[in-house]
Symmetry: C2
Subunit: 326 residues, 2 copies
C-alpha cells in the first residue's frame, strides 16, 4: 500500500508538506503542490481517512439515529439523508433506537467515539443531557426541541386536515386512533384532529394504541370495530394501522368508503397500491431527510446558520378510502 | 475531556502501560492493571475509538451495502445485521447502491478509507475486481459468488414452491412475472418456477419487468391483464408487484382467489395486512441479516471458518390470495 512517505519521496518533499497539501492547511508553494498532486495521481494514493481525521480532528462521518428502519416511514427519511450526504462526500454511521433511551445513548456515545462530526437524530428525548453535552452539531429529524436545529413536518396541521377532510366527506360517528403516548409526532397529529372535532362539535371516540408495529395493528383494528360497531369514519394513527383497519372492515363486510371512510398518515409507498387505495396525510419524508442533512452540513461548515428550524408542510392525498365531496 | 495522560497520572503509571491495558496487548502486572482499570472507572474514561483503531490498526466499524432501503425486504435484512453487530459491540457504516456498480465501488472505497474491518454487501457484482482486491473479510448477503462467504435464501426452490402451490390449487393459465434481469435472486426464483411449469407441462405466459419500484408495479399489473385477460394464476416477482396485481384484479372486478390466484415473494410485513391477505414465499430476511453479521464476525475474529456459505430455507405462507387445497 502506498503511504504518505512514498508520496513524499516521489515528490521530493517532506512528509509534512504532503500532509499540508492533503489537508489543505498551511502554506505550500504552487509548484510544490503540483508535484505532490502529481505523485498522488501517479500512485493512485488515497489518504487514510482515519489518519486524516486524527490530524484534522475531523472525519467525514455523520451519525444517524432512527427509531426503527422497518417502519416504512423511516427508510424514506434515511434515503433523503443518505442521498444528500453522499452527494457531498459524507458517510453515515447508522443505528435503530427502538425508541429506547438507553439504546439511544449507547449509540450516541459510540458515534462520538468514532469521531462523527455531526448527528441527525429522531429522538423522543431531545432535551436529555446527552444532547446538551454534545460538542458537535446535531439536527433533530421528525422531532423538535425548542430552539434546537430541527426538521419536521407540521403534525398538528396534519391532524387538523385529516379531521376536516373526513367531516367534509360526511362521516358523523368518527373514531380516532391515538398513537403511542411517548412518540411526540403521533401526539401532535392526534391533538390537531381533536381540536377540529371539538371546534365543530362532532361526536367522536378514541382508541388508544401503544405501538405502530405490524403485529399489533390488527389488534387495534379489531378493538375499534368491537367497541364502536357503527363508526362511519376512522382517522388512523399511521398508514400501517390504516391498512389493518381496511382489512378488518372488509372482513366484517363493511364497504369502504361507503359504510366507513378511512384516512391514514404518512403516505408510505404501499398506500397507493392498496385496494381500495388509501387516502392519507402525506409527510414529505424523503425531503425531510434531505433538508436535515443539508442543515447539518451548513452547521458543520459555517459559523452561523440562519433558519435552523425547518417545518415542512403536510397535505391530504385523496384516494379511494374517502368519499368524493359532492 | 479525560485523556490517556490523565489516567496514567492518576494510576501512577506510564502512558504506554495504560495503552497496553486498554488495547489488551503486551504484558501488564495484575496489580498495575487493576490500578489502571480503577482510574478508568473513576474518571469515566472512554478511549477514543479512532486513536485505538490507529494503534491497533483495527476499528469496530463494519460497512453494509444494500441496493435500496426503501424496498421493504431490505430494512428487515438491515435490522438483522445491525442487531447482531450491536450485541457484539460493532457499528455500521451504511450505503444504498441502487444496484449501480459505480455507486457501489465508491461506497466500498470510502468504507475502506474509514477503516472498516469487514463488509457485508448485497451486490450484483460479487466477482468484480473491487471485491477480489479487498484485504478485509467480506460476506455477500442475499447474493452469492462461488466459494466466497455468503448468506442467501434458496431462491430456486422458492420459485419451485410457488409454481407447485399455484398448480396444486387449480390454476391452469398461469402468468409469471420475471423480475429485473440484472438482479440474480429474482432470476433464481423465476428459473425455479419455470422448471416446475415445464416439468408438469403447464400452459404459462411471461411478463418481463425491469424494476421492483412502487411507481412501476402498477404498470406491470396493467400489462399483465391487458395481454393475458383470462389468466387464472399469477406468480409475482415480489410482494410489491403482487400488491399492485391484487389492486388491478379488484379494479377489473376479478375475485381473488376465485377468479385469479396470486402468490407474492418475500413475505414483507405488510403482506399479512392486505385484503385479502397475500399468500407468498417467505424469505427469512431478518435471520439472513443476523447470519451474515455472525459469519462476518467469525471471519474477523477467527483464523479459519468452516461453513462460510450459508443457505437458508424458504417456505410457502398460505393466506387468502390462493384457494385451499380440497
Amino acid at each position: 500500500m502506498t503511504t504518505i512517505k512514498d508520496i513524499a519521496k516521489i515528490a521530493g518533499v517532506s512528509v509534512a508538506t504532503v500532509s499540508r497539501v492533503i489537508n489543505e492547511s498551511g502554506y505550500v508553494n504552487v509548484d510544490t503542490r503540483k508535484k505532490v498532486e502529481e505523485a498522488i495521481n501517479v500512485m493512485n494514493y488515497s489518504p487514510n481517512e482515519v489518519a486524516r481525521s486524527l490530524y484534522k480532528r475531523k472525519s467525514k462521518l455523520i451519525g444517524l439515529l432512527l427509531p426503527d428502519i422497518t417502519n416504512p416511514f423511516f427508510p424514506q427519511l434515511a434515503r433523503g439523508v443518505e442521498d444528500l450526504l453522499q452527494e457531498n462526500g459524507y458517510r453515515l454511521i447508522f443505528g435503530n433506537s427502538d425508541e429506547n433511551e438507553d439504546k439511544e445513548l449507547d449509540y450516541i456515545r459510540t458515534f462520538v467515539q468514532n469521531n462523527v462530526i455531526g448527528v441527525i437524530s429522531s429522538t423522543n428525548f431531545p432535551d436529555s443531557d446527552t444532547y446538551h453535552k454534545l460538542k458537535i452539531p446535531i439536527v433533530f429529524l421528525d422531532r423538535t426541541s425548542n430552539e434546537s436545529p430541527s426538521v419536521y413536518a407540521d403534525g398538528r396541521e396534519g391532524g387538523r386536515i385529516a379531521a376536516r377532510e373526513i367531516i367534509l366527506r360526511g362521516s358523523k360517528r368518527i373514531t380516532i386512533l391515538q398513537g403511542p403516548a411517548h412518540i411526540k409526532p403521533a401526539q401532535d397529529r392526534f391533538q390537531g384532529a381533536i381540536e377540529v372535532l371539538e371546534e365543530l362539535g362532532m361526536t367522536y371516540d378514541v382508541i388508544q394504541t401503544s405501538s405502530f408495529s405490524y403485529g399489533e395493528a390488527g389488534k387495534w383494528a379489531k378493538e375499534l370495530f368491537d367497541k364502536h360497531t357503527d363508526t362511519d369514519g376512522v382517522i388512523a394513527s399511521n398508514d400501517i394501522v390504516a391498512t389493518a383497519i381496511l382489512q378488518e372492515a372488509h372482513r366484517l363486510g363493511k364497504a369502504v368508503p361507503q359504510d366507513v371512510q378511512i384516512i391514514g398518515y404518512d403516505d408510505t409507498p404501499l398506500s397507493s397500491l392498496l385496494s381500495p387505495s388509501l387516502s392519507t396525510i402525506r409527510q414529505p419524508a424523503y425531503d425531510m431527510g434531505r433538508e436535515a442533512a443539508g442543515l447539518l452540513i451548513r452547521l458543520i461548515e459555517q459559523d452561523k446558520v440562519e433558519d435552523s428550524i425547518i417545518q415542512l408542510p403536510v397535505s391530504f392525498v385523496e384516494r379511494e378510502t374517502t368519499r368524493t365531496i359532492i
